[in-house]
Symmetry: D2
Subunit: 349 residues, 4 copies
């Protein structure tokens, strides 16, 4: 198969891209003198303050190393005895964390089917019948992902409806925001959207992702004020308390102080739209317009394998030839055009 | 109390110091293009290869975020059902990790008294009587710290003796090397010393520390070849698998390729010796000569509080006025001289 | 609603019935003098020997208090690091044990849909793709229930097929036999059938139920010889090691020495068949012929509630009016006839 | 060595003795008809009511299978995130439960030295410094044993002092009462003493032992009203919820309705006193007068081994030849006299 020059950057994952240079610069600027360890430094204070201003809420903020770690800290801070976590079958906590939640929490994940990656209030309601029955785990937390693992997003109203059902039954709501910036960017951008999609809608605890959005292994957990005073203990106990925390926190200062976190996410989203614009006319691909930074096309086996050898991307559903194309903060318009050209060539287009 | 100008850097902890600039430069150099995530990148391969050359052994290498995390991964990779971890009462895993080992491992830490931070073969032997008795936890791992939390070091012979006792009873040996570079530097330096102090002496798994030695939240776990093929699963499950691993691994490439890891540790050790040289004559301090980078003097309450306000350091044993002074890779000779001058002034010397 | 005299015994659960008097007599006979605790007594030896003769295999036998406990001991004895348990969505371990497996094992239960309570080899196969991928839990045990929670049974061939798939991929197979006696009775009876349905077909570890079959809180775990030498430690650690074990073991001696275990199960099965014979002609009930000791009819709401008030039984699926009628070792033919008469009356028949 | 006829019953353990016949009779009387499972039966209600009358307090009561299980349920019901259990080094939970507490709770046991088996308020106080420090486990429960593993007892005042220290720092207090009846019997007997030694003194949760006091694998957990509404979930999750609970509860009805629980404990205590009376004059034994039902004499190796072969008992401290002689509810005066005669003969007396 004769394919044009491959793009410089892959469409495999936003985990394959590097970091925005400004984050490394921010780390270097923070690399001066001595600072108290474990979050008592000035950068951590500044980043915490920025989150509070953004959300107009005195959230508790914990800076962590990784996304799985953030989820474990978040869930471990709110889960009670014999409680379960309600989540989508395809959620990261359920399928991509090697059982870290079950191991650390000692708790069941009650997964519900979700063709679009989202949970409905009705699905939560259906699990509440076990409440009070000592033979069943007690639903304790509803965990949703925004944007979802399938590239879809919840609206503010959808999140609010879930929170109402959950809170009425005394459950809490966790939002896995590994790609929350992409969702915010897709839905208008700005701190107001972030607030509306999280604490404004009733969410209790948020895993706020940085790494996939261009940061150097930097994540945060945001908790509704007063929700879990013991959360910092859980953070340390789950091995997610960075000793030299300034190198995590200083990145968040950089991200939040002038909108860099939204700029990178917006770019990634735009590139996915561009890719859709360049390939959406090929009906056999069956691509839906992206909501954030990924497309899930169908490819014939021969073309798929040729393309993966040319510019690697992941299979999504081997049974039907579905793959995932994901853009990143550093994907360029030229990367997209080259990739689209390759796809056309592979499809004999 | 009239004290001279305080040193620019504190003597509180090697966790208070920043990172050696070369580590940030290495991260920046690694910040190019796309790389496979989760350790399939070229930097991780290179750093792994360097460790293997160093140790002349095909060790399995896992790069992690933090020290507590490294210990949990290391112990979790070798601990069997109903087994316990034998450790010193003052060990980091026992007192400074908020129970992370018990939480993740579901296992007992059997701590033994240790005025000097070290475990003796006799102490291990005394715990073996429980082996085979179903009512008692089964000692499974002996965990030692090198250099210890009290600034002491094990000799190669001492480690070998522990490994022999342990292996004879089918236990494994873990070495918490959060400050292993300081120990290696103190005992001759070089890869040969590292090998002799670890796998050469029979150690099965090592937490190899980077952060306290000047790296940006970077640690490694080294395992005897074939010891625990499931260790990477444990790493992911314990939330210690960095997605953008190149930023951890590239630092280790920098550290190991021309001896930077030993240079920084040697500097820290030297500054502690300098501090001892400048203050060892004050008998009331009761300082022992340092083996690595810390001193544990006694201070009268008034002087102690004045000095802590002037240039912060930690209490060690409040009951007797013992404190800890710790040097770091970035401590300068002038820092030491200023600090020593302050101590003399505070003691009315 | 005018209903005839209610039966003396309920059709609610084989957990509602008492114990066969011979078990209490056996306990009384064992209540003589002193015996070593924790399983070193003569009754435990005798019961173990009987199991070995039955199965013509030197199985390891652990006597436990309860069914959930047996399952936890069995699974905990064979599960490895980061491994999961594959089970049916409706299995007892998945829905009726309040998350005990997740809590004790720290492991994920990967449940598969199962309208008839059984798992197919194809379903196991579909989960094996995760093997070797460090981001996913590793299927480690396939757990099947015999007879299932839905009153169905696996044939020897079906179990063998599951074991082959599992063993080929280095998984083990657990059989939750809370009602294994009912299955054996339904499939011919005798030790040969027991052997064929378990170790003969390749099963690695069995929870052998006693309580639902007329014993006083007595269960056993049977393990393939050499499978898990540490299993007794797991038993103690999971709080399932009876100190005065003679009162559990002596019941198993009584059960196994002259076929009492099969006699009670056979009776329970027969009563279910009698109930089917007496009511199977009522088409609206939609009863399938029982395989063991339970029926799952549909009832109109009014009749259902009247009948439950008259002689209690459990709802099974509220959404469609399905209930469960379960017979027990002590159900009499007259109980069945009275119950059937009540059902006919309630249905206005 | 020429020894007289051995006693019919051993002096090894109150776990070696059988059950008082009245408990088996009570189980037989309860063995009538169907009863709801899992504690909704009439016997469980009656036994609960008896405990409440005894204690003049609406305690929550959970009936369990075993002592280790009771402790796990009790601790699991009150322990919070990142909390530890403070206990004596020689306590059953620390050394004789194969790490069940650490495994189920995922928590550290902070053991304190205790030559007499008891914890002092000062020892608790010394551990409170870690409260609020996120790097240390947070003491959450103080667990004491009454009577202790060393045969000693706490006075009401001693327990009250511990509870005050604990409650002032917001810790709860657990009492492992595997032999609480022996302690109550030793200190005056009757429900008033039980109340005074437990909830009256401030204890929050009690493991109330039955098995060692002559019951058939029957224990109870008593909780201060309102302390832990989720305790029944913890009980099920820890595999300690008997399905046919009537056989546990009916024994407690028998025990509590006319003082049988105290009668058996009183007998055991008396026999220990008789043994002391018959051997206390032999100075080389170094026996202290018993507080409950055990003696801890020193024996020369030759005599010890001869006696153990003649009538088995356990070593206590091999390093100094200390053994344990324990009486039980069924020990007769003649057993004691024979045993004492054997000891005198072995000592060449």
């Amino acid at each position: 198969m004769d394919l044009p020059a491959a793009p410089e950057r892959l469409f495999a994952s936003d985990n394959f891209s590097g970091a925005h240079p400004r984050y490394l610069e921010a780390m270097s600027r923070a690399n001066v003198g001595h600072q108290p360890a474990y979050g008592l430094d000035s950068h951590t204070r500044a980043a915490t303050e920025l989150f509070r201003q953004f959300l107009d809420l005195e959230v508790d903020v914990l800076f962590t190393f990784g996304g799985t770690g953030s989820n474990v800290v978040a869930l471990g801070s709110v889960l009670g005895p014999a409680q379960s976590v309600v989540c989508a079958a395809c959620s990261h906590i359920n399928v991509d964390e090697t059982g870290a939640p079950e191991k650390f929490l000692g708790a069941k994940l009650q997964d519900v089917d979700s063709p679009d990656g989202k949970i409905s209030p009705h699905q939560v309601e259906a699990l509440l019948h076990g409440l009070g029955n000592i033979h069943h785990v007690q639903p304790g937390v509803v965990s949703i992902t925004q944007a979802t693992e399938l590239g879809t997003t919840y609206s503010v109203d959808e999140i609010r409806a879930l929170c109402e059902i959950a809170h009425d039954a005394k459950l809490t709501v966790h939002l896995d925001g590994a790609r929350i910036a992409n969702a915010v960017a897709a839905m208008g951008g700005g701190p107001e959207t972030l607030r509306a999609l999280t604490f404004g809608a009733g969410v209790d605890v948020v895993s706020f992702g940085g790494t996939k959005n261009g940061m150097v292994n930097a994540e945060a957990v945001l908790l509704r004020p007063g929700l879990a005073p013991h959360a910092p203990l859980v953070q340390k106990q789950s091995t997610q308390l960075p000793s030299k925390m300034r190198y995590v926190a200083s990145q968040f200062v950089e991200a939040l102080s002038d909108g860099l976190w939204l700029e990178t996410a917006t770019t990634a989203n735009r590139r996915a739209h561009q890719l859709y614009d360049e390939l959406g006319d090929i009906h056999s691909l069956r691509i839906s317009p992206p909501q954030v930074n990924s497309l899930y096309p169908l490819l014939p086996r021969g073309a798929k394998e040729a393309l993966q050898a040319w510019s690697f991307f992941w299979d999504w559903d081997l049974s039907c030839g579905q793959v995932r194309w994901m853009t990143s903060w550093d994907t360029t318009p030229e990367d997209v055009s080259r990739f689209a050209a390759g796809v056309r060539a592979a499809l004999g287009g």
